[in-house]
């Protein structure tokens, strides 16, 4: 059972455009993480959001945790080729704080 659904699965846009990636679940999480993975490497944490409604900014990336703690979004402003990669959201469950559920991933490609 996939508890975290990401959309879109694939996204190819031109450099300079804006984009939003969504991570949705019917489950409530104590916190939610976003990772980025480049080819041949493991995922690397970008951010953790903890409070419902929380917004965090990391340069051109804006992360939001839904008020009900069931969903999250990642918005990238003025995308650059260096943003290319696989973006994964991951939810930390209340029932098992150390078992983290990963989303299905969004593969992002930024064309120069």
């Amino acid at each position: 059972t996939q508890l975290l659904e990401q959309s879109p699965q694939f996204l190819s846009i031109q450099e300079g455009e804006n984009l939003t990636v969504y991570c949705n679940s019917s489950s409530v999480f104590s916190s939610l993480q976003w990772y980025r993975q480049e080819p041949g490497e493991g995922p690397v944490l970008l951010v953790t959001v903890v409070t419902g409604g929380e917004v965090k900014k990391l340069k051109r990336l804006t992360f939001q945790f839904g008020d009900a703690r069931k969903d999250s979004s990642l918005h990238i402003t003025a995308a650059q080729p260096g943003d290319t990669g696989l973006y994964l959201c991951a939810g930390v469950q209340y029932s098992s704080a150390s078992k983290i559920i990963f989303g299905s991933g969004t593969r992002l490609s930024i064309r120069p």
């Binding site: 490497e41 953790t48 990963f102």
Partner: protein
Amino acid sequence: GAGVSQSPSNKVTEKGKDVELRCDPISGHTALYWYRQSLGQGLEFLIYFQGNSAPDKSGLPSDRFSAERTGGSVSTLTIQRTQQEDSAVYLCASSPDRGYDKNIQYFGAGTRLSVL
């Protein structure tokens, strides 16, 4: 400092053979996870070790898969009688059980397994 190390980085094997994948976690991290990733998709949880507690094996897809963690450090994932559908990248991650980065997973680069 050293990160999570996985070996081998690539493994090609024949159907029916056994394989062992190794993971060296970050020193001092008590939690260790194994995941499987197919075709650059999301991560499929396999097994989780935390200190001396019994491992959470709920993600292992069949009894051909097993894992050990010796001395609370190095872990080995064993796949017996490999099948073609086992072909994937196997990722290991470790995490501290306390502190500001509790629940943050630090990943190795993975082992790419190809079963012919």
